[in-house]
Symmetry: C2
Subunit: 530 residues, 2 copies
Amino acid sequence: MQNQSVIRRRDLLALIGTIAGSSAMYQAMTSLGFASESAYKGPLKLAGDVKGASVLILGAGLAGMTAALELRKAGYKVQILEFNNRAGGRNWSIRGGDSFTELGGFKQTCQFEQGLYLNPGPWRIPYHHRALLDYCRRLNVTLEPFIQLNHNAYLHATRAFDGKPQRFRSIKADFQGGVSELLAKVSQQGRLDEFVSKEDQEILLQALREWGALDRDYKYNANLRSADVRGYARDPGGGLMGDPLPSDPISLQELLRSRMWRYVQSFAHYDFQTTMFQPVGGMDMIGKAFAREVGDLIRYNAKVTQIQQNGSGVTVSYVDTASPSAVQQATADWCICTIPLPILSQLPVDVSGPMKNAIDSLPYAASVKVGLQFKRRFWEEDEAIYGGISYTDLPIRNIGYPNYGFNRGGRGVLLGAYLYEGANSFEFTAMTPAERVASAVEFGAKIHPQYKSEFENGVAVAWHRVPFTLGCSGEWTEAGRAQHYRNLCQIDGRIALAGEHASQLPAWQEGAILSALDAITRLHERVVKT
Amino acid sequence: MQNQSVIRRRDLLALIGTIAGSSAMYQAMTSLGFASESAYKGPLKLAGDVKGASVLILGAGLAGMTAALELRKAGYKVQILEFNNRAGGRNWSIRGGDSFTELGGFKQTCQFEQGLYLNPGPWRIPYHHRALLDYCRRLNVTLEPFIQLNHNAYLHATRAFDGKPQRFRSIKADFQGGVSELLAKVSQQGRLDEFVSKEDQEILLQALREWGALDRDYKYNANLRSADVRGYARDPGGGLMGDPLPSDPISLQELLRSRMWRYVQSFAHYDFQTTMFQPVGGMDMIGKAFAREVGDLIRYNAKVTQIQQNGSGVTVSYVDTASPSAVQQATADWCICTIPLPILSQLPVDVSGPMKNAIDSLPYAASVKVGLQFKRRFWEEDEAIYGGISYTDLPIRNIGYPNYGFNRGGRGVLLGAYLYEGANSFEFTAMTPAERVASAVEFGAKIHPQYKSEFENGVAVAWHRVPFTLGCSGEWTEAGRAQHYRNLCQIDGRIALAGEHASQLPAWQEGAILSALDAITRLHERVVKT
């Protein structure tokens, strides 16, 4: 036609300066600072002559495999000993047909339908975990969003609202509305004058009205304005279906006493802010991707029994789990040990007193996850809950809805319980797997009555009974960290530790990777210097 | 092993009652109300003898195709006339190679890389749009999350913070922190005593501390507690990388004056709450899915020129857009007209005065969207922004980041401007497409300086210049709706209107579908009754 306006960069240059802005527009631009706040500075570069040095890595989890990948690239001779018959460690997904035997001998064989899974360990990746995200990119792990905040999921408290679950959106809106109304009232009565100028109070009132969904008189009431945040009694429709109807807010008093406000910030913490991710197909896609790179270095089914070192190298004794009587040995110049501390603390290890104390002093969190398969995704079909988490004060604490296969019908697996610390975690750990599953169904049915007719099968992982970790993750206290953390992370002779326990990000995969990168960076400095 | 605990439903039954709960646990369950609040009551059932009746549908957008699908299923003879050479209407995605000519003759041919697209019309689907979601499921449209709230995206105001964009998380956290500190202070000074009991104020203080990230003295300060919501100066790392460092909050005064709080609730409105969706591959996957069902009923390139009716039927005149001189006619017993009102109001239409007044009285929103392709996804790589929206007071208003292809590198297309109403929308509409794109790049570079070196090409759609709508969507006022809405939606003789304009959900695809379902339900009642 008359004006074929294909717009390319070169066309743009002709237009710039003539449109919508002065030349001053660019002034501030170059001074904008967008530096990453992450401890991760991009792919590791270990330059220098490694002089044929060898490194023995204990554990093929993310820390161990990160170390292996980078050390081999830098020229080291690398070997990994791994207890399991698979790589990944806590980076783990359970699918139909998978078997797992926990401490005590209880064996479960998962019966999930093909394509469904439970991530018993890590299940989400924050946007600021730059190292993990970079490895996902380099190793071609496809990601999809993990929904942390679902406004339509439930908050549930046994003793509030007759035990009836409330929608997250309503509690959040009513809390903001109640708080805003209160502060607006105080402002209008002149009681803020000594703290905030009159001018700023005018702006504050505008902000509170917007942010609390208040009406013109700064009241939080049942009307279409509050319905627009807390939800409607009847949604807007089409044609002559009828006008939308507002819903009734919960009073601030009732809300405060319900304690449901405890959950309202769950999504706002740095670790849980949007945008979060999960690998398409299960968290273990990451472990498998690492194993594609370094699998040839791994000796599986190798249970470490002793770690010795002297001035010239490291000797590690291990047995094959299938023939535990025959002790074998592996040697190297250096050792990166990622064995979880509850196991490492039980082994004879040649390290200095301070490191040994650190190893022995860190308790691991008791965590339990239960995966439940249902005949249909009733949470989506009946309740319009797509992904995200419902919170309850029942022992199960969380119900996590699957963040894949949305809106397509069919079976679904949800996270029926996620216990983390507290007495209930230990209670659930003490149960048999079958009891854990039954209990998760029993409790969950208080929130979703459909459980009773739709439940099919389940699996349950209690981390204190997982043979390859004996706990979920390092549970640091402030005092414990002050006393032991540096000693844990120092290179001790020829041995360095790595893993989430040796990081400021316990329980996170990013912590495992960053600790490995930090440990091998320091080790490499020693190697090239000597 | 000794205890093969495969857990099935039948096993569960044996365990229930023995574990973790009294029989009273179930009492409240059956009384839990989970009724859908949606106006959609599930798949339409049009029962009864339609007596061979025929329906002519004008427009093959979502309203028209919904009507066609359901009416044919109920036994009607159905035909659709469609102006475009494709189905879908505003349900539309633009990809590389697509051409589009707007009013004024400007033709654009999109140069996006394969796999990248812009949705110039609707781009997101709320979880409570039950009808649309049900059609997506029935028609096998795969969905993925649409990220509305991204804590790491930017808020930008030209005159605040020297024009430097702020992270959403920081503004949100600082607003909540400042408000909470203020209210806590007032409470501690006894100034809430007449509104809230002392007991409840104790709970309120706990809630404010939690929700505002206040310290033990109810102050909002730079510390690791506020860093955990607003972000760190240095993130927690691994090994001996160094301790995490807090960042400095913005004072409530500066925050109030910045006006950035205006954006903080953007994600909390019912229409934008999690979980939102988009079809995998582009919004037009929905239109294409409908067209797979009813495409055989559509006559494309048919421009309606007149709509007549009498007591026995409807006659619609139209021309083929390729040979506009030859007027053709289609007849039927009934007509469902989904033609957008800016076009319909210009046609001779045989309807009563009140409906005609309604048709003539509804203005359509001026909306402009600009899609920009960049050489690399710098917003992800440099700035850790994955999906979601940055907000600015610049004319472009929104920068929308793609919610697909996360973390994989390569080129990306973002929404470089989304203007909706206001003077800037008309300014952008008055520009040539090339100028719109240039302007979006110019303004966007104030937020992302990388624009200047990474930009490749763009497309721009100004809805007032889109020939098949002449506007974005019905812009109802409260007064206008009170006067005209019922008249617009009543069946007028043998003609009923449908589309987002005939709904309480203007601009939403759900409104189009619900209005069609409502119109044909009422029409069908007439047919089976007579």
